[in-house]
């Protein structure tokens, strides 16, 4: 597949945006400036970037508790995101959702979800709408290896296949369901094998390679747009930080394992490829980082200067 240079740069920019946002959020959390818990996407950037680079604003995604990367990749605004993490009234959810429920329906992002596997049946519903509208829209369900054992995934996949819905089940297999390694929570090595049980394609891809993810996602999404039904796209990836927060993970992972995955950092790898291909030079690459850093700083400032919600707002928005 020949990928146009601007799309390659888009992939790179999305990944840098996710990385810088998440590292900033992690720092703020350690400083006690973000209430509650964060689940950081650092290390998994190629998956969100590669998949969302195939999507339009009127395509839908459902997300996980580790949802910041998905929202950034779908076009999320840093300021509105930081504001939501801080619980400010100007946040994407007016401060009522926080990290685990961050959402933007305008961007087709149907929410991070605090329930493992909770987004899968919802993505099927969104895909139902897509099929009814007949405009070629698709829905993508992001979920992890842990979620692949939830009944919700199985009901969703069966229904998606039965109704031939335009939904991509994108498994971000980072080898751990919370603190439990994959080989201790399921008997398959490839979650993609489970697609056969529902009679649709299951594809495994190197989730640290943004171009590979983009190519596999393009094919699956193209098939869905054309009415060919669902695909289970399993991206082998890795989270650098802990399941939640930024604590060390040596209690259940080895430093050697972490370093092995970091050696194949998705941003470093794509950056090197783009330099090799002549799509970017070093000045251009640095300019991307600088520009995104500046936007992050701008967004953070917006969030810091935003007000907290009025306590009376507690009662609003339960019912339409």
């Amino acid at each position: 597949m020949t990928i146009p240079p601007d799309k390659l740069i888009e992939l790179y920019e999305k990944m840098v945006a996710i990385r810088l946002f998440e590292e900033t959020a992690g720092r703020l959390s350690t400083q006690g400036r973000i209430p509650g818990a964060l689940h950081l996407y650092v290390g998994e950037e190629a998956v969100a970037a590669g998949v969302c680079a195939c999507l339009n604003v009127d395509d839908y995604i459902t997300s996980t508790h580790r949802g910041h990367g998905h929202l950034v990749a779908k076009g999320g605004d840093f300021g509105l995101m930081f504001a939501e993490l801080f619980g400010k009234a100007t946040g994407y959810c007016k401060g009522k959702g926080g990290s685990m429920h961050i959402a933007s329906l305008d961007l087709g992002m149907l929410g991070a979800n605090g329930i493992v596997g909770g987004g899968a049946p919802i993505a099927v519903g969104a895909a139902w709408t897509c099929k009814q509208r007949g405009r070629g829209q698709v829905a993508v369900c992001f979920f992890g290896d842990g979620a692949s054992n939830e009944g919700s995934l199985h009901e969703a996949m069966n229904m998606a296949a039965l109704y031939r819905l335009p939904v991509i089940f994108c498994c971000e297999n980072n080898l751990y369901g919370e603190y439990t390694p994959q080989h201790k929570h399921q008997t398959v090595a490839d979650v993609a094998d489970r697609a056969a049980a529902y009679n649709f394609p299951g594809v495994v891809v190197d989730g640290m390679d943004a171009i590979a993810v983009y190519e596999a996602a393009s094919e699956a999404i193209g098939r869905a747009r054309a009415g060919g039904g669902p695909t289970l796209l399993e991206c082998k990836t890795y989270r650098y930080y802990d399941h939640v927060g930024v604590r060390p993970t040596a209690t259940y992972r080895t430093d050697e394992e972490v370093e092995r995955w970091k050696a194949r950092d998705p941003i470093a790898m794509l950056g090197a490829r783009l330099l090799e291909m002549g799509v970017l030079d070093e000045t251009g690459r640095q300019a991307i980082h600088d520009r995104i850093e500046a936007k992050i700083a701008e967004g953070l400032k917006f969030a810091e200067e935003s007000p907290l919600p009025d306590p009376a707002d507690v009662l609003a928005d339960v019912y339409a």
């Binding site: 946040g91 959402a103 049946p121 928005d317």
Partner: protein, 328 residues
Amino acid sequence: MREIFFVQAITEAMRQEMERDPDVFLAGEDVAGHGGTFGTSAGLLDQFGEQRVVDTPISEVGIIGLAVGAAATGMRPIVEIMFCDFIGCAMDQILNQLAKMRYMFGGRARLPVVVRSTVGAGLRLAAQHSQSLEALLCHIPGLKVVMPSTPYDAKGLLIAAIRDDNPVFFLEHKALYRIRGEVPEEPYEVPLGVADVKRPGRDLTIVATARMVHEALAAADRLAQRGIEAEVIDPRTLQPLDIETILASVKKTHRVAIVHEAVKFCGFGAEIAAQIAEAAFDYIDAPVTRIAAPFTPVPFSPSLEDAWLVNADRIVAAVEQMMPVPAA
């Protein structure tokens, strides 16, 4: 005016709304080809086709999730959970997704979903097909809960529920499907959140839901023969509750009994009783009485199920404990 069965009132409400609004569709187990286990969707597949009347696998998580996702992206789904007992299978999608999405997203999601489900005992279907679980649903902010007792109310409330932009649980008592009543042919709404005085009276207020409305009315007839005029109020919508109609009645009669088929402990009657005690303490001459089922699963054997079920006899006996009732 013509009389139709309660079940037909349900079908007519869905048909008329589906005719009016192409975004309304129905999905559930056996709703299409079979016309619904209780016949509530008879004829709809032939009229609207399989994109709008959809048979699902036996997948309650998937059914509710389908509704959540379709509604959040602009459609107006009606989904069916065949027996309310099966909400257990779907409880995450109901309580953590459907109910909460709007609030968690700062009001920026709209989920116009109707979940139709059946409630009720008396058909010898035993513990897992006979419950009335409205109290669980009423406890979850973000859901609305409706329990019609007559064909007229059923059609009007279902049309209102379909037009409501919130998740509404529409609970149909199985034993009411074959009752008949006058129902206008044209579409009409019975507003959600408005109670109905089914029988005016001055001596006693009886608040009753679903099939117990009819048992309460039968009890009221028997009490009337003994000189006690009971006012029977049907809340119709449990969430949001029209407490004002109930309070106005209690302030008039000074005595109130609450009747529901569900288990008494933590039943919906406890909420009404507490609200009356809070808002009308000075108006009541006796403690609020709840007449409801004992704290057990629904038994199978007819003699046991009949001992479990509230009926007009038990309502009259309870009223006799609440106030002087002249001999028959």
